[in-house]
């Protein structure tokens, strides 16, 4: 599942790059997943992160048939933001899909 989630995130980032004309986002497809997405030194503006979440929630439903909400209380209250890198974001989405944190609506 991890590889599938990562590829979903990369695809969503590519679409975001086209939408916002942000070259920094486009180049992320070639990295190891540790590029900082959001926060200090992050490549995403807050508005781009919002757009990414909307895209991801949509794609996750299409691919897995599950409604998840990324910006939930749990994510927002963690000391280390799950939205910091592609890998951490992927881990967080996986936990929503498989664990008790899953928001099955």
């Amino acid at each position: 599942m991890k590889n599938k989630v990562i590829s979903i995130i990369i695809e969503a980032l590519k679409e975001l790059a086209a939408d916002f004309g942000n070259d920094n986002i486009e180049n992320i497809a070639d990295t190891d997943g540790e590029t900082i997405l959001y926060g200090m030194d992050g490549i995403l503006e807050s508005i781009e992160l919002v757009s990414l979440f909307a895209d991801l929630e949509e794609i996750i439903f299409d691919e897995f048939g599950r409604d998840i909400t990324l910006a939930d209380e749990k994510a927002m209250s963690q000391n280390n933001s799950p939205f910091r890198t592609v890998n951490s974001l992927s881990d967080y989405i996986e936990s929503l899909l498989t664990g008790d944190a899953g928001d099955d609506r």
């Binding site: 919002v50 757009s51 909307a54 895209d55 929630e57 439903f61 409604d67 909400t69 928001d103 609506r105």
Partner: protein
């Protein structure tokens, strides 16, 4: 033009009239309320939800996206009124008013904006009240919940402007609907006397302003509040 319009609180009162008006004009209307709807039109779809329940709101809006692919306009009409002296207002009543009037508006605006931003187009209309600028005694909690909507409208308009979404609010005067049926007549008379044009509002007065805000030509109008009856902020 067939617009996809989400209207909250469509089981009765202003919400129902707005839904019927936009259906008559050939639009698709998606409505909601805690109970069922008596509107039976092929282009009307009703969801029985509580606007203060985050999960229900999210499920409804995502279902609308799957079925219609877009939302052109959101009319955040659902609301409750309870007029009482502050010292006589139960805490639970205050929480319910803030939750329905303000948090319900917030939830719908948040979820619908996510759909609208993908299309780089959207019109959001929120409902305030003339009780805000008039600072009416006896309406502290109700007016506060609606004052929050004014600030929310103004700030949200800035946050979503780059996505082609406009956010405006209407501040109606009292209209003879179920919402005010339990409010003492003297309170309503007192309110009407403080309007520049001293009469009850009509559904048509509200439709006129909502029409203006959701018109595709109104793309340069955002963050505005229009109070009816000539009430000044």
């Amino acid at each position: 033009m067939n617009q996809i319009i989400v209207i909250t609180g469509t089981s009765r009162g202003i919400g129902r009239k707005l839904a019927e008006y936009y259906l008559d004009a050939g639009n698709t209307v998606i409505g909601c309320s805690r109970g069922n709807s008596k509107i039976e039109e092929p282009k009307y779809c009703h969801y029985e939800i509580d606007v203060t329940d985050e999960n229900q709101v999210i499920s409804m809006i995502r279902d609308v996206r799957r079925k219609h692919g877009r939302i052109d306009a959101l009319v955040n009409n659902a609301g409750i009124a309870s007029m009482n002296h502050v010292l006589m207002t139960p805490y639970e009543t205050a929480k319910k008013i803030i939750a329905t009037n303000f948090l319900g508006t917030f939830l719908f605006a948040r979820e619908v904006s996510k759909i609208m931003m993908k299309k780089k187009y959207g019109r959001i209309v929120n409902f305030s009240t003339v009780a805000v600028p008039l600072r009416l005694e006896g309406e502290a909690i109700y007016a506060s919940s609606k004052a929050a909507i004014v600030f929310f409208t103004e700030i949200l308009s800035k946050e979503v402007a780059e996505f082609g979404i406009t956010v405006n609010a209407i501040g109606p005067t009292p209209v003879a609907t179920d919402l005010i049926k339990n409010v003492p007549e003297s309170s309503i008379d007192n309110l009407v006397k403080r309007q520049t044009i001293q009469r009850f509002g009509k559904i048509g007065d509200i439709v006129n302003v909502v029409d203006f805000f959701i018109n595709p030509e109104s793309g340069f109008i955002t963050g505005q509040v229009i109070y009816l009856g000539g009430v000044l902020d």
